[in-house]
């Protein structure tokens, strides 16, 4: 049984990692954290903003990712498509914290329908900022 699998992390700004060998990956799924190991059955799942963890060359890697998808192809390749991905070193924690406070303040004041685009945008921003802080912290 293979103990490694190929992982791609793709964003619209380019591939964060491409074709790296990992023993497994943990992702923030829509229904909670989930881990994917080699020889997983081919499947598609949604990813919400959060922290992705995997081991590369025996070193733990953490990445803050935005909303997206995880796809395990028939050949067993794992592709994570997310709208953005940042390594802890790229995260400006202080700025993120300040922005988060601002966004939370606006969310608290918000009284319109929760289906409106403004609310969705705010909520997405909040999730993304929280993911960054958790990843850096």
């Amino acid at each position: 049984m293979a103990d490694r699998m190929k992982l791609d992390i793709l964003t619209p700004r380019g591939a964060k990692y491409e074709g790296i060998d990992v023993p497994g990956v943990e992702i923030p799924g829509l229904l909670g954290e989930l881990g994917v190991l080699p020889e997983h059955v081919s499947f598609v799942t949604a990813v919400k903003p959060g922290v992705v963890r995997f081991k590369k060359d025996n070193e733990s890697v953490r990445l803050a990712v935005g909303a997206g998808f995880l796809e395990v192809t028939e050949s067993g390749r794992v592709v994570l498509l997310c709208e953005r991905a940042l390594a802890p070193s790229e995260i400006e924690t202080e700025a993120a914290r300040e922005q988060l406070e601002e966004v939370q303040g606006e969310l608290a004041k918000y009284s319109g329908p929760i289906t409106a685009a403004t609310y969705r945008d705010l909520d997405q921003q909040r999730a993304w900022l929280e993911a960054q802080i958790r990843c850096a912290g």
Binding site: D8, L10, T11, P12, R13, G14, A15, E18, G29, L30, L31, V41, S42, F43, V44, T45, A46, K48, A67, G68, F69, E71, V72, E74, V79, L81, E83, R84, A117, R120, D121
Partner: protein, 296 residues
């Protein structure tokens, strides 16, 4: 010798123009590499995203698409929103006018058949062009994307079109969203393309996946999550293409302009020298004529 002076001024003026076009071409070359890299980097994401959506949507019976996700609903008739994606600046050959003409042609054609079409403009060139013809954007105007703003602008535009598509208000709602943009084929070739953004469709060519992947959670929850992201991704891909195509078009146009200026300068210099020689010859003839007369 007024003609000589005129020629000299003309040559100086063309030389100045050539300096500008040569500089613009160089700037475009430098920016082109960056834009091309951004486009190449974004392609794998866009392509995978497209494939996943195809898988998901193709597996749903067309009749049930509306129930699966509101953004998949095919509506008959109604209002079409056309997005004209151009640049903010000119001097890039046919880049802007190709888009504007294609959209204008589409508008005429559809309106002649009695269909309702409204416009959204991305880039100042489209705004100026269609305003001249008295089109009303109703606030649907955005600046052109640049390397750094593509991702965010894609999101903004995506949420605007999704809101228009799902609007409860009859007067606001659009039933179809099309996008006209320049596809970057190569540095020398940009192709105006029109694609459908909403409703999301599965492509006609049914190369059905050999094996249906499992969806976890089930298809409909994934769709809820995926469809808005897919719309964003479509727009972002188009913007990356448009940015690279604009710079490539400018480089080609400015190269051609520089070559033309060089040609013009060569012609003018030749003419100038000929005139100068003619003037000298005339003067010499006069002097010799004078000397001969004195000798006489």
């Amino acid at each position: 010798m007024a003609n000589l002076k005129e020629l000299r001024l003309r040559i100086a003026s063309v030389k100045n123009t050539r300096k500008i076009t040569a500089a613009m071409s160089q700037i475009a070359s430098a920016r082109l590499r960056k834009a091309q890299n951004a486009l190449l980097a974004a392609r794998p994401y866009g392509e995978r995203m497209h494939e996943v959506v195809q898988h998901l949507v193709a597996g749903i019976d067309p009749a049930e698409r509306k129930a699966a996700h509101a953004l998949l609903e095919e509506r008959k008739g109604g209002r079409t929103l056309v997005i004209a994606m151009t640049a903010d600046r000119g001097l890039c050959g046919g880049f802007n006018s190709n888009i504007n003409r294609a959209v204008a042609r589409y508008l005429d054609q559809e309106r002649a058949e009695g269909h309702e079409v409204v416009l959204m403009a991305i880039g100042r060139k489209a705004q100026a062009y269609f305003k001249h013809y008295g089109e009303d954007f109703g606030g649907r105007e955005y600046p052109a994307a640049e390397d750094k703003t593509v991702v965010d602008l894609g999101k903004t535009v995506a949420s605007a079109v999704i809101e228009a598509f799902l609007s409860e208000d009859e007067a606001e709602r659009v039933d179809r969203v099309l996008l006209q943009y320049n596809h970057f084929v190569s540095v020398l070739n940009q192709e105006p393309r029109r694609i459908q953004i909403l409703p999301l469709t599965a492509s006609e060519s049914e190369d059905a996946p050999t094996q249906e992947p499992t969806f976890e959670p089930e298809r409909s929850s994934i769709l809820q999550h995926l469809v808005p992201v897919a719309v964003e991704s479509l727009l972002q891909q188009a913007m990356f293409n448009s940015v690279a195509a604009e710079i490539a078009a400018r480089r080609v146009a400015m190269d051609a302009a520089t070559d033309n200026a060089s040609g013009l300068i060569a012609d003018l210099t030749l003419e100038y020298n000929r005139e100068r020689q003619a003037a000298i010859t005339t003067e010499l003839m006069e002097i010799i004529g004078g000397a001969e007369a004195l000798k006489g």
